[in-house]
Amino acid sequence: MIKAVMVINTQGKPRLAKFFEYLPLEKQQELIRNVFGVLCSRPENVSNFVDAESIFGPDSRIVYKHLATLYFIFVFDSSENELAMLDLIQVLVETLDRCFKNVCELDIVFNYSKIHTILDDIICGGQVLETRSTEILRAVEEISKLEAAPNAITLIPKSASGWLSR
C-alpha cells in the first residue's frame, strides 16, 4: 500500500502532505525533513528510487519525481511496483496539469483543498483507485459545479477581482 504522498519544493517547504496511516504531527514533520534531506543530496540523472527503510521503517521505498521547483514523493511498501508508482506520480501531475493548465507550485499552494480532492480520487486508503486522469478531472469538475451551485452555498466568484473586493 501507499504510505504517504508528499509534495515538497526545492527549498524543503512542504506543499502537500498526506499520510495514509496516522502519524503524529511532529513525526510527519520529521519525515518530511528527512525525505527532503535524502532527496536534495541525490545527484542529477540517477534513479527515481530511494530506499526509505531508515526513514519510514522496514519495507518502505520512496519514488520521487523532480519537476521544476517541486519534488513529488510517494512512499509505499513492497506490494507496489516502483515503476508503476513513478507512473502514478505522472498520473497525478498530468491531472494537475490538465486541471490548472500548466501547473506550477503556486497552483498547488493556493488550491490546497482541490489537490486533496484529486488525490483522494486517485488513492483511497493507501490503494490506487483510479488512474484515468480524465475520469478524475470529471469528478473534480462535478464537485466544483455542485459546490458552486446556489443551493450549496451562495455563489463565490472565481475571478481575482472577486477576492480582492473582500
Partner: protein, 974 residues
C-alpha cells in the same frame, strides 16, 4: 490563478502563503505562522461566521498544520463542519478531519453519526466524502456502526461509490480482519463488476487476502488469467489506456496476484504461461509503464513454477533493463536479476559486467540494490571479493541504519563462507573497527569463540597460529584511536586468553596494553571489566607457568583505582585479581586453566543423578518432594509440626524463625547465611551465594537436591550443637564474601576437592563417542557449503535456551544446560567467557552420575581437610558440575570433532583455488600476481576465456581494466 468555483481561496490566504514563502528564516516563518494562529483562534470562535469564511479558516488551519504547527484548537470546528448541510462545507470538514484526526481521537465519536447519515445520502459526492473519512477515521470499535451502510454501498449505481466502498471494506479488513470476515465473499463478487474500475479496485483487497491464504483462492486462477488476457488484448475501453498501454495498473495488480497463486503450484502456473508469454511479446518496451508491466511479469515468472521459455523471455528483458541508460531500469533489472537467479543461477553470468557497473554507479540506491544482489549470489568462491566490496562501501557511508544492515550481512557471509580463518578474523576486525557499535554483540561472541576453538582443523598448530595472528593484529589495532566498545571487548578477551600463549609477547607487553585500554576508555565500564579480567588471566598464566609476576606500575595504579571503584563489578574483579596473584601456581592453574574457555560447563538442572538417592530415601519413609506451589499452601502447619524431626517437610521457609534463635558465638556471622544453607528459597540471588560459600543449596531445582539439603541443613540448624565446627567454617567463608574475594577462595576449595575426583575419564569416553557421531553427521557432507561457523551459531542459539536437553538430538545441537547456579562461576571469575558457557556439547548426565558416584567417596575423605566437611557429597555434586568443563580436556577433542566437516570441506572449497586467489580482492592483492593468475586462469578454463571475449564488446570503454576482469571471473564462477 486557476482556482475555480468551490475551490476558492481568499486574499488573506494568498497573503499568508506569500509571506511564508518570502520568509528568510525559519524563525521568521514561525513568527508569521504564530501570528496567523492567533488571528485564526480569535476569528474562528466568533459567532455567525459565514460558511465560506469558515471553510477558508479551516483550510488555513490545515495548511498551518502541514507546516508543522499545532492547530488542535480548530479540530472541533472541522468536526462541526462535517455536520453542515452544504456540500462545500461538509467536504471541507471531511477533508480537514481526515488530515487532523486519527482513528482513536476523542472527537471521532462526534463524527461517526454524521458519517452514518452521509453514507445514506442521495448525493453520491457526499457519500464519497464520507467514505473517504471512513477509510481514515473508523477504528475497530466503530466499524460495526458503519459496516451495514458500507456493505450496502457495494451495490451503489455509481461506480465511484462502489470503488470507495470496496476500499473502505478493505480498510476494515486491514484494521480488524475478524469484524469483516463474513463479508469477504463480497470481494469475489465485485470481481465480476461491470465496471473495470471497480474490478481493478477489488484486486487490492484480494491481493492482501491471497497473500495471507493462497489456497482458498486457487479457484480464481482461471478468472484472473482470463481477466488479464482480456486486458492485455485491449478488450477494455480506450478510456483505460494509459500511455497506449491497456489498463497497465490493473495488469500489474493481476500479475502480482498470479505470482502468489502460481508459486509452487505447477498446475496453476501452467494456466498462466500463455498469457504471460503474450504479455512478454506484446508489451510496449518504450514507455515507463510498459517496463513496469515487464518487470512485474519477470517477478511473476520467477515466482511461479518455472517455464524455460518464459524464463528466457524474462532474461532477455533483464538484459535490456541492465543495458539501458536509465537508472530506473537498471535498478529494476538488478532487482529482477536477484529474483531470477534463484531459479536459474547461470543467467547472472551474462550480466557480470553490468552488475559491476551498477556497483560503481554514483547512484546510491542502485548501489545498494546491487549489494543486495551480490549478497544473494555469494558463494565460498567469491565471498572475499563481495565482502571486501561491502566493507569498503560500509566504511564510506554515514547512514547508520544501512551501515548496520550491511555490517550484519558481511558478518553473515563471512561466517558462512569464509575461505580461511585468517581471512575471517581480518574481515571481522574490519567490520568491528568501522561499525563495531552497530553490530550485534553476539557477533563478537562468535568471533571470540572462533578464535578459541579454531575452525576445528585437527592440528593445534593451525589454531595457535590463528590465535597468535589474532593477537598480533589486535596489538596493532589497539594503536588506533576510538575503537568501538564491542571490538575492545573482543580484543581484551583475546589478549587475556592468548596474549602470552605463543611466547611472542611477554606478559608485561600484554598487560601494558591492557592497562592502556582501561585507561584510554575509562568511561566504558564493560571494556574496563574485560581488561581487568584479561589482566588477571595473563598474570594467572604467568604464575601457573612458574614465572615471577611483576606488576607494572601503571597496572598497580589501575588496580588501586579499581579497588575503590564505584562499580561493584569492577571492584570485585580487582579484588579477585589481587587474590589470584597471591596464590601459588598449583591453585592458580586450577582457577584459570589456560585455553579452557571452550570447555564445557554442564549442569544437570533436573539433578537426575540423584534419583537413586531419592528412591532410597523414599523407600526409607521420606516424604516425596512437594513442589513450591503446593508447598506454600501447607507451609505453616508443616513447620510447626515437624520442627523437631528431621523430616523432609523441613525444606520450607524458615527464615522467619531464625533470628530469635540464640547462636553460639562462632555462629554470629552466620546471620545472613542460614537461609542459603538450609532452604531453597526462590530468590534469584541465592544461587550465587550458594556458590560463593561452597554450600550448595539449589533453589527451585528438583526435589532430589532438596532432600539432601534438607537433611544436612536441618541437622545443623535445628539439631544439636555438634555441628558447630562446620558452621563456623562456612561462616568464615561467607564473611569473606563480603570483601569480595570469597569466590576465589571458594573456587579454590572447590578446585582442590575437584582435583581429587576421577570424573575426567568417563567424559573423555563420551567425547569420543560424540566425535564419532559428529563425524558421521558431517563426514559425508563435503558438499556442505556452510562452514562450521554456522554450526557454532546453531549450537549457540540452542544453548541460549536454558532448558533441559538430556538427550542430544544431534551433536550439533547439543546444548549444555545452564542453570542459574552454573552460570555464576564463569561470570564471577571471568566476564570474558560468555562464550564458553554458551557453546558446547553437553556431557552425558548418566556418565556424570557415574563419575560422581566414584568421586563422592574420595571427596568425602578429602573434604574434611578443606572446608565443607558437613556435606561432602553435596558439595561435591555442586562443586563438581560447574568446573568439570573447565578441566575436561576431552571436550577439546569433541569440539574439533564437531567441526570436522570443515576439514572434509576443504577439498571442495579449494577446488578452484586459483579463482579466489586471482580475484583482485584476495588477501594479497598485487597487480602482477593478479595478471598472472588471470592469464593462468584463462588458460585453465577456455570457456570463461571465450566468455570474456564475448562480453568485451559492451565492456567499459572498450578496454577492461584488469581488476574488473578479475571480478568478472569471480562472478563467472557463480
Amino acid at each position: 490563478m486557476g482556482s475555480q468555483g468551490g475551490f476558492y481561496q481568499s486574499k488573506e490566504f494568498l497573503d499568508l502563503v506569500k509571506s511564508i514563502g518570502e520568509a528568510r528564516s525559519k524563525a521568521e516563518e514561525d513568527r508569521i505562522v504564530l501570528h496567523e494562529i492567533d488571528t485564526l483562534k480569535r476569528r474562528i470562535s466568533e459567532p455567525d461566521i459565514p460558511k465560506r469564511k469558515m471553510k477558508e479558516y479551516i483550510i488555513r488551519l490545515v495548511y498551518i498544520e502541514m507546516l508543522g504547527h499545532d492547530a488542535s484548537f480548530g479540530y472541533i470546528h472541522a468536526v462541526k463542519m462535517t455536520h453542515d448541510d452544504s456540500l462545500l462545507v461538509k467536504r471541507t470538514g471531511y477533508l480537514a478531519v481526515t488530515l487532523f484526526l486519527n482513528e482513536d481521537h476523542d472527537l471521532i465519536i462526534l463524527i461517526v453519526n454524521t458519517i452514518q447519515k452521509d453514507l445514506k445520502s442521495d448525493n453520491y459526492l457526499v457519500v464519497c466524502a464520507a467514505l473517504n473519512a471512513v477509510c481514515k477515521l473508523i477504528n475497530e470499535e466503530t466499524i460495526p456502526a458503519v459496516l451495514p451502510q458500507v456493505v450496502e454501498l457495494l451495490a451503489h449505481p455509481k461506480e465511484a461509490v462502489r470503488k470507495k466502498a470496496i476500499m473502505a471494506l478493505h480498510r476494515f479488513y486491514q484494521k480488524s480482519p475478524s469484524s469483516v470476515s463474513h463479508l469477504i465473499s463480497n470481494f469475489r463478487k465485485r470481481l465480476c463488476d461491470n465496471d473495470p474500475g471497480v474490478m481493478g479496485a477489488t484486486l487490492c483487497p484480494l491481493f492482501d487476502l491471497i497473500t495471507l491464504d493462497v489456497n482458498s483462492y486457487k479457484d480464481l486462477v482461471n478468472s484472473f488469467v482470463s481477466i488479464l488476457k482480456q486486458v492485455a488484448e485491449r478488450r477494455l475501453s480506450k478510456a483505460y489506456d494509459y500511455h497506449q498501454m491497456p489498463a497497465p495498473f490493473i495488469q500489474i495488480k493481476l500479475l502480482k496476484i498470479l505470482a502468489l497463486l502460481g508459486s509452487g503450484d505447477k498446475q496453476a502456473s501452467e494456466n498462466m504461461y500463455t498469457v504471460l508469454g503474450d504479455i512478454f511479446r506484446k508489451c510496449d518496451s518504450s514507455s515507463n509503464i510498459g517496463n513496469a508491466v515487464f518487470y512485474e511479469c519477470i517477478c511473476c515468472v520467477s515466482s511461479i513454477y518455472p517455464n524455460p521459455r518464459l524464463l528466457d523471455s524474462a532474461a532477455d528483458v533483464i538484459s535490456r533493463f541492465l543495458k539501458s541508460d536509465s537508472h530506473n531500469l537498471k535498478y529494476m533489472g538488478i532487482d529482477a536479476l536477484g529474483r531470477l537467479i534463484k531459479i536459474s543461477p547461470e543467467i547472472a553470468e551474462q550480466h557480470q559486467l553490468a552488475v559491476i557497473d551498477c556497483l560503481e554507479d554514483p547512484d546510491d540506491t542502485l548501489k545498494r540494490k546491487t549489494f543486495e544482489l551480490l549478497y544473494k549470489m555469494t558463494k565460498s568462491t567469491n565471498v572475499d571479493v563481495i565482502v571486501d566490496r561491502m566493507i569498503d562501501y560500509m566504511i564510506s557511508i554515514n547512514d547508520n541504519h544501512y551501515k548496520t544492515e550491511i555490517a550484519s550481512r558481511c558478518v553473515e557471509l563471512a561466517e558462512q563462507f569464509a575461505p580461511s580463518n585468517q581471512w575471517f578474523i581480518q574481515t571481522m576486525n574490519k567490520v568491528f573497527e568501522h561499525a563495531g557499535d552497530l553490530v550485534n554483540i553476539k557477533v563478537a561472541h562468535n568471533l571470540m569463540r572462533l578464535i578459541a576453538e579454531g575452525f576445528g582443523e585437527d592440528d593445534d598448530n593451525a589454531d595457535s597460529k590463528l590465535r597468535s595472528s589474532a593477537v598480533e593484529s589486535y596489538l596493532r589495532i589497539l594503536g588506533e584511536p576510538n575503537l568501538p566498545s564491542v571490538f575492545l571487548q573482543v580484543i581484551c578477551w583475546v589478549l587475556g586468553e592468548y596474549g602470552t600463549a605463543d611466547g611472542m609477547f611477554s606478559a608485561s607487553d600484554i598487560t601494558g596494553k591492557l592497562c592502556d585500554v582501561a585507561e584510554a576508555y575509562s568511561s566504558d565500564e564493560t571494556v574496563k571489566a574485560y581488561a581487568v579480567t584479561a589482566l588477571m588471566k595473563t598474570y594467572a598464566f604467568e604464575i601457573a607457568a612458574g614465572r615471577k609476576v611483576d606488576m607494572l606500575p601503571e597496572c598497580q595504579s589501575l588496580m588501586e583505582e579499581l579497588l575503590a571503584s564505584h562499580s561493584t563489578d569492577l571492584q570485585q574483579r580487582a579484588y579477585e585479581l589481587q587474590a589470584v596473584i597471591g596464590l601459588d601456581a598449583h591453585a592458580v592453574e586450577g582457577i584459570m586453566p589456560s585455553d579452557a574457555s571452550c570447555e564445557d560447563i554442564e549442569v544437570d538442572k533436573g539433578l537426575s543423578f540423584l534419583n537413586g538417592y531419592i528412591q532410597e530415601a523414599i523407600e526409607k519413609g521420606a516424604q516425596p518432594y512437594i513442589s513450591e506451589n503446593e508447598r506454600s499452601g501447607v507451609l505453616n502447619m508443616g513447620n510447626f509440626r515437624n520442627q523437631d524431626h528431621h523430616e523432609p517437610s523441613h525444606g520450607l521457609r524458615f527464615e522467619a524463625y531464625e533470628l530469635p534463635k540464640p547462636v553460639v558465638q562462632s555462629r554470629i556471622p552466620q546471620a545472613l547465611l542460614p537461609s542459603t544453607e538450609i532452604v531453597p528459597v526462590p530468590e534469584p540471588m541465592y544461587p550465587r551465594e550458594t556458590y560463593q560459600t561452597p554450600v550448595p543449596s539449589n533453589s527451585s531445582s528438583a526435589g532430589s537436591a532438596e532432600l539432601k539439603l534438607r537433611l544436612d541443613g536441618v541437622q545443623k540448624k535445628w539439631g544439636r550443637p555438634t555441628y558447630t565446627p562446620e558452621t563456623s567454617t562456612s561462616s568464615s567463608t561467607s564473611q569473606k564474601t563480603v570483601n569480595g574475594a570469597a569466590q576465589v577462595e571458594g573456587a579454590t576449595t572447590l578446585n582442590s576437592t575437584r582435583e581429587t575426583y576421577a570424573s575426567r575419564k568417563p567424559q573423555v569416553e563420551i567425547s569420543h563417542e560424540k566425535q564419532k557421531l559428529a563425524a558421521s553427521l558431517f563426514g559425508g557432507s563435503s558438499k556442505l557449503e556452510k562452514r562450521p561457523a554456522t554450526g557454532h551459531k546453531v549450537s549457540k542459539a540452542s544453548s541460549h535456551v536454558v532448558e533441559k536437553s538430556h538427550v542430544p538430538k544431534s551433536s550439533k545441537e547439543v546444548a549444555s544446560e545452564k542453570t542459574a547456579p552454573a552460570q555464576p562461576p564463569p561470570d564471577l571469575l571471568d566476564l570474558g567467557e560468555p562464550t564458553d558457557t554458551s557453546t558446547v556439547p553437553s556431557l552425558d548426565p548418566f556418565r556424570q552420575l557415574e563419575g560422581l558416584l566414584d568421586t563422592t567417596q574420595v571427596a568425602s575423605a578429602a573434604n574434611g581437610a578443606t572446608a565443607a566437611s558437613r556435606s561432602p557429597d553435596v558439595t561435591a555434586l555442586y562443586a563438581d558440575t560447574p568446573p568439570v568443563g573447565i578441566h575436561n580436556m576431552g571436550d577439546a577433542d569433541l569440539l574439533s570433532g564437531l567441526s570436522n566437516p570443515s576439514v572434509t570441506n576443504m577439498p571442495g572449497a579449494t577446488a578452484k583455488p586459483q579463482l579466489t586467489q586471482s580475484s583482485g580482492k584476495g588477501p594479497n592483492p598485487k597487480d602482477s600476481l593478479e595478471k598472472d593468475a588471470l592469464v593462468r586462469q584463462m588458460d585453465m578454463c577456455g570457456q570463461r576465456d571465450c566468455h570474456i571475449n564475448m562480453i568485451q564488446p559492451y565492456g567499459i570503454g572498450g578496454g577492461l581494466k584488469i581488476q574488473e576482469r578479475a571480478e568478472t571471473l569471480v562472478l563467472c564462477s557463480i
